[in-house]
């Protein structure tokens, strides 16, 4: 059958001549190729010591943001948990008491906010769902650990450190 | 190495012959005792080697290099023998699935 694109090339394999069958030139060529790599700069990086820069829209570890006064933005509306396709986010809401205005921005806040990092697929839908701009995936790579329960990150790991410190 | 060889040379020729005779007899016993063709073959090698040792001793005793040259020939012969003999043993094993020489007493198939 005729080929449709006419791009097919007929390959003719010639039997190798004596010089080619001796394989020595091929071996020397191969040796020269590896030797050229010997002097090249290593493409690897020393990971824990030096880190490669992430791209702008890289989605890493979550962080719960604070506002300009240092109060937590999250109001425990639950939209992020709702939007999460992996169901990695759970939270328990609580009411703000008197004298806690500097800690929480609105009257309702998340007393418990947990993300299971083993479930999370880092899709970024929670970031988009959040009406208060409280959660961003702007962190680092999730650290390795030994136990499954240690991958459930609570507020202690997620909330941004206070501003003036 | 020379100083080593000068010190030990006081062994009577008889004892070399004795050693070779004993090892030769052990080789004969091996041939008679065992049924594994390869072990029998090895006993034959043992006998050949005792002859080699004796030839070398004679050569040194007489101060004549011909004995050692003969040992060289025996080694060439042994190499040839082993090559052919082991090929035969492998062939026998392929045909009978055993290298027991008692299976071979018929010599016809």
């Amino acid at each position: 059958m005729e080929s449709l694109s006419n791009k097919k090339k007929q390959l003719v394999i010639k039997p190798p001549n004596f010089w080619e069958r001796a394989y020595l030139p091929a071996i020397v060529h191969g040796l020269s190729i590896t030797m050229s790599h010997f002097f090249k700069k290593p493409v690897t990086i020393q990971y824990p010591d030096e880190k490669r820069e992430f791209s702008e829209n890289y989605r890493g570890l979550h962080s719960l943001k604070r506002d300009e006064n240092g109060a937590e933005r999250c109001t425990a509306c639950g939209l992020c948990a709702l939007s999460c396709p992996a169901e990695a986010i759970t939270m328990i809401a609580a009411e703000r008491q008197k004298g806690e205005e500097h800690l929480y921005r609105e009257e309702k806040y998340a007393a418990v906010y947990e993300i299971n990092m083993l479930r999370c697929i880092f899709c970024g839908l929670c970031e988009e769902a959040c009406p208060k701009e409280a959660i961003y995936l702007d962190g680092d790579i999730v650290q390795s650990d030994y136990l499954r329960k240690d991958f459930i990150y609570g507020k202690d790991k997620l909330v941004e450190p206070p501003l003036n410190q | 190495m020379e100083s080593l060889t000068h010190t030990i040379q006081a062994v009577p020729l008889n004892h070399y012959i004795l050693l070779s005779a004993i090892i030769f007899s052990i080789g004969v016993m091996g041939v008679l005792l065992r049924r594994n063709a390869i072990v029998i073959f090895m006993s034959v090698e043992l006998m050949l080697n005792s002859a080699n040792l004796l030839l070398t001793a004679f050569s040194v005793y007489r101060g004549d290099a011909a004995g050692q040259v003969f040992v060289f020939f025996i080694m060439a012969l042994a190499a040839a023998e082993v090559a052919v003999g082991l090929a035969i043993i492998v062939m026998i094993y392929r045909n009978t699935n055993s290298i027991d020489i008692n299976v071979l007493n018929r010599l016809k198939w």
Binding site: I27, G30, L31, I33, T34, M35, H37, F38, K40, K41, P42, V43, T44, Q46 | M1, S3
Partner: protein, 343 residues
């Protein structure tokens, strides 16, 4: 023989053993580092500056590992195997001339343990014994992969010994002596044997690769086909012995190649240097040159390892029997004709 001579000889033996062990140790480091460079990586760099303590860490790890002897193995032979491998690897260094005679305080110290006049044959015999370590270990493990590795090692070594011997015969026709010390002396200045025996050198080198089980010919232990080959069942320091024996073999065969074909401790302008530095320092410079050549060969071994892929088994046998042996015989014939008619 005086006591002082014996002491010097003893010291020389100790030093050579130490050097070959240290070189083998750092060959493992060099192998990893050079492999990394060839693959655009960095290589071990955690233990000490540039990872220079890595061999010590490896050795410590080997010692700490659990010693396992499989239930169905033959325990005695299982231990004899690696011991034999490292023994045969070590004793090859006895006849290699490491340098010219050193004159210190009016005493002449030969930098060669013993100059027996069948030196090459001795090396050859030691190399041919090396296969026993592999075979005994592979058989005693009572494992099919080990046994296959052992059988491969045996047939490979026997096949390549033939062409190795034939290539040496052509060299002996040129040099006219079997003593390594004399061969090294004859190549004074620029008269290196590789200029007279290039084909012989090529054959010898290929066979050296095969005899040391280095990469294009590492079929006895090829991990992609045979798990680990003859040392599948080995662990701890016994495995370490096998790996170590390979590197010592590589060191010794590099030294033999440098002695037989690349002039040993000779280098151009040697007389001038020796006359200016005196008889105590001059030979040591020669020894340093010799070691530089050895390291170049070791580097070449590693370079080839990361360039040429492993042979298939039938290709290996074809190369040995159908190409190398006829080539070696042709080399002998041509050498004989040249010697008869042109000298």
């Amino acid at each position: 023989m005086e006591l002082a001579d014996i002491a010097i000889k003893f010291g020389l033996i100790i030093i050579i053993f130490l050097i070959s062990l240290v070189v083998a140790m750092y060959s493992t480091y060099a192998e990893r580092k050079i492999a990394a460079f060839f693959q655009d990586r960095v290589g071990p760099n955690r233990a000490g500056p540039f990872g220079i303590l890595q061999p010590l860490a490896d050795g410590a790890k080997m010692f700490m590992k659990e010693e396992i002897i499989p239930t169905n193995a033959t325990p005695f032979l299982f231990i004899v195997g690696p011991s034999l491998a490292i023994l045969t690897a070590c004793i090859g260094s006895a006849v290699i001339p490491w340098g010219q005679n050193l004159v210190v305080g009016g005493r002449t110290i030969p930098l060669q343990v013993t100059d027996i006049n069948v030196g090459i044959l001795y090396i050859f015999g030691v190399v041919s014994l090396g296969v026993y370590g592999v075979m005994i270990g592979g058989w005693a493990s009572n494992n099919k992969y080990s046994l296959l590795g052992a059988i491969r090692a045996a047939s490979q070594n026997i096949s390549y010994e033939i062409s190795m011997g034939l290539s040496i015969i052509a060299l002996l026709m040129v040099t006219g002596t079997l003593s390594l010390g004399e061969i090294a002396q004859q190549q004074h200045g620029w008269h290196w044997n590789v200029l007279y025996q290039p084909v012989g050198f090529l054959l010898f080198m290929i066979c050296a690769f095969a005899e040391t089980n280095r990469t294009p010919f590492d079929l006895p232990e090829c991990e992609t086909e045979l798990v680990g080959g003859y040392h599948t069942e080995y662990s701890s320091m016994k495995l370490g012995f096998y790996l170590f024996a390979e590197y010592i073999n590589m060191f010794i065969s590099s030294a033999v190649m440098a002695t037989l074909y690349w002039g040993g401790y000779n280098y151009p302008g040697m007389d001038w240097v020796t006359a200016h530095t005196g008889p105590a320092i001059g030979p040591l410079i020669g020894t340093a040159v010799f070691f530089a050549k050895i390291f170049l060969f070791i580097f070449f071994f590693m370079w080839v390892r990361w360039t040429i892929p492993r042979f298939r088994y039938d290709q290996l046998m074809d190369l040995g029997w159908k190409i190398l042996i006829p080539l070696a015989i042709a080399n002998i014939v041509v050498t004989g004709i040249v010697i008869t008619f042109f000298s």
